[in-house]
């Protein structure tokens, strides 16, 4: 390669005034406007923003892979001083995969399903370094060991679907690093993974980029993650960078109203729903072809000044009030905004009163039977196996209380919701709702009143509404079905009232779901759940598919309605920050087992169950003042078909004490009245554990601090 002859020591990547557009039937749609960035060797830069802000497009443009309808309108991308636009296809091919490599959001989709992992790995050195197959295999095996995958030789022969999601992402990382690229593009590399797996991947990326001295361009929507991996970040909004600078200056002294707004939307460990409610950014992200004149953020900005912000387009300006020379902001008024008062903060609210017990779950179990048709199973007579989706679940929820069920994928939290809703029946134990056991009562045999008093908000906004019916018809149907109203006029009135409650315009009643945004659909889902004046609402990951600013608004809406109606909320989530913010009580689940339960404060401070401890450590926190103890779990989530005999967590536990963990189910020990931990470690030992998260007292609110 020419670069090795004359060593290049300038910046790895220089992007100047880059404008990218897609061409569609509707005309030219600018995806990225006026983007500039420079990346020095070994440096890592983060692109952060909500969906549709153009961050992935930038990565694809660097690779010059825009698809047939995308193009670079103006500006240059220089890689090691060479303008990417001037390269021939062949030169481009030689750079792709050897000098610039990419790691993708969904590892399963990024790997070819019908080729072995080995054959997909060895083609990288064979293509770029021209080495023999044997040599390439040797390098691939070494690299698989480098990404901490067990048994690399055997893995080479495996197909992608045979390994877990976290392992697949490690394979993709190995593939990217095989030719020691000088630039690594990471497009939401951990978004599709569980938190504890994510923590491992993030650590691996940091470790390897140091080892191979690659520069990183890290794309994510997660501000907390940025804090852990990047030196500098660019905050993007609607196709342009609104603020950029060193990670510390952005987090400590943000200057752009949008950045302020983002921080106001993220639940932090030292904030809860009563003392410091989230403050959503009002309005919606403009569609690319409907961007306003002047500042794109103008219509949503609290500091908007007509005549200044809605004129010509805004350029980046230097921020010279802190000691970060790279700190720049795209706002005309940044100097006149009082940044101390700029942190959006909702008004404090009195905590809700918790009334009598509404839901009581006692030793609930749900087993599935799975037929194993493999030959070995037939011979050994284990044709039918049991999957323990829920094992001995016990907890209570009072009126007006928010109980969160936390766990990663496969922990049985969705099965639990199905049993409550009557879509599945409990195998054993009791589920008492207002004193009546409904665990074995299928939905068909519940009365309209029972149905109406227990409703659900679903996860996926695009799936929650019937695309063929109008919003009004769908809510109206629920009202009629639960017998709230029977007179068509009254039903219509109640539909409009519910739209008011979820703060949507009344004319949405005649719209079809596809005319609504994700957040709006989720609001309709909430309206539908509350149509029958429910005593309890189950919210199954209601905000996990939404962008932060929208999620904050939906979260607030949900808690407000709950507070007003004294509804019990069962909040199912994998997101510990949201749980900590919202919940009064927390139930932590792992592989169908309840491992810890207690009030939010009890669960989030020692003594912890070792799994809770690891989970807490894994959650990225968007606050530089927070110090975390790092705990990275080894190994994979065991299959629910073949769970460990003793404690379900024993295979990955960082505090495993011996064979007793593998062989005997752990007893539930009580630290306080209703704070139970299912663990073999004596309670005295667990009490000695240091807190995972420490918030330094010096600056209680970093976002408001001035230099």
């Amino acid at each position: 390669m020419p670069d090795s002859v004359t060593p290049y020591d300038g910046p790895v990547l220089e992007i100047e005034d880059l404008c990218l557009s897609y061409y569609t039937r509707a005309g030219e749609i600018p995806a990225v406007v006026d983007f500039s960035a420079t990346l020095a060797p070994g440096e890592s830069i983060g692109l952060v923003g909500e969906s549709g802000c153009g961050k992935s497009t930038v990565a694809m443009a660097i690779m010059r892979y825009m698809g047939s309808n995308g193009d670079i309108v103006s500006g240059t991308v220089k890689f090691k001083g060479r303008d990417m636009a001037t390269l021939s296809d062949e030169e481009l091919r030689q750079i792709r995969g050897s000098e610039i490599a990419m790691i993708y959001q969904e590892p399963m989709a990024a790997l070819n399903p019908s080729l072995t992992i080995g054959s997909q790995l060895i083609e990288v050195p064979m293509t770029h370094d021209g080495v023999s197959k044997e040599e390439a295999s040797k390098r691939a095996i070494a690299m698989l060991a480098d990404v901490h995958l067990p048994d690399p030789e055997r893995l080479m022969e495996a197909y992608p679907h045979q390994i877990s999601g976290g392992q697949q992402q490690r394979v993709v990382i190995a593939m990217a690093l095989l030719s020691s690229p000088s630039l690594l593009l990471l497009d939401e590399p951990t978004t599709a993974l569980d938190v504890t797996v994510e923590a491992g991947i993030v650590e691996l990326i940091a470790e390897l980029s140091r080892k191979y001295n690659s520069s990183l361009l890290y794309i994510s929507h997660n501000l907390g993650l940025m804090l852990e991996v990047c030196d500098r970040i660019c905050v993007m909004y609607s196709g342009e960078v609104v603020e950029e600078g060193h990670i510390d200056s952005i987090f400590s002294w943000p200057k752009h109203p949008y950045t302020h707004g983002l921080f106001g939307c993220i639940p932090l460990p030292h904030a809860d729903k009563n003392a410091r409610p989230l403050k959503a950014i009002r309005g919606q992200l403009p569609l690319p072809h409907e961007r306003p004149q002047g500042c794109y953020f103008g219509p949503r900005c609290d500091f908007f000044k007509a005549g200044t912000c809605d004129q010509e387009s805004v350029r980046m300006s230097e921020v010279n009030t802190d000691d970060d020379p790279a700190h720049r902001v795209r706002c005309k008024l940044w100097n006149s905004i009082d940044h101390d008062a700029a942190i959006p903060m909702g008004d404090a609210k009195p905590p809700a009163e918790i009334g009598e017990t509404v839901l009581e779950i006692d030793g609930m179990q749900k087993y599935y039977e799975v037929r194993d048709t493999s030959f070995a199973a037939m011979i050994s007579g284990k044709g039918v196996r049991q999957v323990k989706a829920n094992e001995k679940i016990t907890f209570r929820a009072g009126r007006g209380e928010t109980v969160a069920i936390v766990g990663e994928s496969g922990c049985g939290k969705s099965t639990f919701a199905k049993v409550l809703m009557g879509l599945e029946q409990a195998t054993d134990g009791e589920v008492r709702m207002n004193g009546i056991d409904i665990g074995g009562m299928p939905v068909q045999s519940r009365s309209p009143k029972q149905l109406g008093s227990l409703q659900m908000v679903f996860q996926n906004p695009n799936d929650t509404l019937n695309p063929s019916l109008t919003i009004g018809a769908q809510i109206g149907r629920v009202i009629k079905k639960f017998g709230v109203e029977t007179d068509p006029v009254k039903i219509q009135e109640r539909v409009l009232h519910l739209l008011d409650v979820v703060k949507l315009p009344r004319d949405f009643a005649i719209r079809k779901p596809r005319q609504l945004s994700g957040g709006q659909k989720q609001r309709i889902g909430i309206a539908r759940a509350f149509a029958g004046n429910p005593a309890m609402v189950i919210a199954d990951e209601p905000i996990s598919a939404l962008d932060v600013s929208v999620a904050a608004a939906v979260t607030e809406l949900l808690t407000d309605i709950q507070r007003e109606n004294q509804t019990t909320l069962l909040f199912i989530s994998h997101d510990l920050s949201a749980v900590r913010y919202l919940a009064d009580r927390v139930v932590v689940m792992y592989l169908g087992m309840l491992v810890e339960r207690g009030t939010t404060d009890e669960v989030f401070s020692p003594p912890y169950h070792p799994y809770t401890e690891a989970l807490l450590s894994a959650v990225p926190i968007a606050d530089p003042q927070v110090e975390k103890r790092r705990i990275v779990l080894e190994g994979n989530l065991p299959s629910a078909l073949n769970p460990p005999k003793g404690c379900p967590f024993s295979t990955r536990c960082q505090r495993r004490i011996g064979e007793i963990c593998d062989n005997e189910p752990p007893p539930v020990q009580f630290n306080a009245d209703r704070h139970g931990i299912a663990c073999h470690i004596p309670m005295e030992e667990l009490r000695k554990v240091e807190p995972v998260i420490k918030v330094s007292d010096k600056k209680p609110d970093p976002a408001g601090a001035t230099p």
């Binding site: 792709r96 995969g97 990419m102 080729l115």
Partner: protein, 310 residues
């Protein structure tokens, strides 16, 4: 895998049994009709009764079905009413002729449609893609009976290059094969090509192809190694199902060109109410169809590692 194969074969046997029961009920349920069909409408009542008794038609229904099935499995299908010889004497040579016709059709059609489908799907929306796509829609839209007429109008009557019938009376002649094979290809290749195109186009939009391109692999390697392997799994099944399809297609072609094949035999038999020939042909046709379906399923499992190793 073994379990899966034995399951498929078990299902195949079951299907054949159900089909045989249906056929038996449909065609032999009332002995009176059978006698009329075999002995003709002008036979005397006495002769009919005599024939029925001699052939065991007064036994109970299940017994009749059992012995009928037993004979069937042994290859004794009864006598053809029209040809006055055992059915198997007519059936096997006819089936062989159809096999030859089918072989040539497949030998040309499969490579042709796969290549065109892959070329079209490789660059979706390109000019080549549009030409191939529209071309294959047009050829599939001309029914076989229409293209037989059109092609013979051109090649037989217009250019006088090819014979208009393919009865092979004076031994096997390649020239007589050309038109029937051509008609079958024209009608069927468009379907396979479109399926291949759709499969290829879908694969080209997947993320793993993007991965392969951004790995810096030469385009040729992206196509040959990464795309084709996945894109050809679906067409494989489609091609195996075309065997079933071809059994329909040959009926028209053989009928028109007077080719002495299986399809023409079935058609003649049904027009002449030649009951035992209908039974035998239907069973053979279903057997071939079910067998090819079974092979398709097993092959699909084998080709797709996601199912093979779970």
């Amino acid at each position: 895998m073994l379990i899966m194969i034995s399951k498929r074969i078990g299902f195949m046997v079951l299907t054949m049994l159900v089909v045989s029961i249906l056929l038996f009920l449909l065609l032999e349920y009332s002995p009176g009709n059978v006698a009329v069909k075999v002995l003709g409408p002008y036979s005397s009542e006495e002769a009919r009764q005599l024939w029925l008794e001699r052939h065991g038609y007064f036994e109970p229904l299940w017994w009749r079905y059992g012995s009928w099935l037993g004979n069937f499995i042994n290859g004794e299908f009864g006598d053809s009413v029209r040809f006055r010889v055992p059915v198997s004497e007519v059936l096997w040579p006819r089936l062989w002729n159809t096999a030859i016709l089918g072989f040539w059709t497949f030998a040309i059609m499969i490579p042709l449609s796969l290549i065109l489908g892959v070329l079209a799907g490789m660059r979706e929306g390109s000019r080549l893609d549009r030409i191939i796509s529209v071309g294959s829609i047009i050829t599939t839209s001309v029914p076989e009976f229409a293209s037989t007429v059109l092609l013979s109008a051109i090649f037989v009557f217009g250019l006088k290059w090819l014979p208009g019938t393919s009865s092979m009376t004076s031994g096997f002649e390649v020239k007589q094969m050309i038109l029937p094979v051509m008609v079958l290809i024209i009608y069927d290749f468009g379907y396979v090509a479109r399926m291949t195109r759709a499969s290829m186009a879908e694969v080209m939009t997947t993320h793993y192809i993007r991965t392969a391109i951004l790995k810096g692999l030469p385009y040729r390697q992206v196509i040959m190694k990464h795309a084709l392997r996945n894109a050809l799994i679906a067409p494989f099944t489609v091609i195996m199902l075309q065997i079933n399809w071809l059994l329909s297609g040959v009926i028209v072609v053989e009928f028109f060109f007077a080719y002495k094949g299986f399809g023409a035999l079935l058609l003649e038999a049904s027009l002449n109410q030649d009951i035992f020939v209908i039974e035998a042909c239907a069973m053979v046709a279903v057997f071939v169809a079910v067998a090819s379906q079974t092979i398709a399923d097993i092959g699909y499992t084998y080709l797709n590692p996601r199912i093979r190793f779970t």
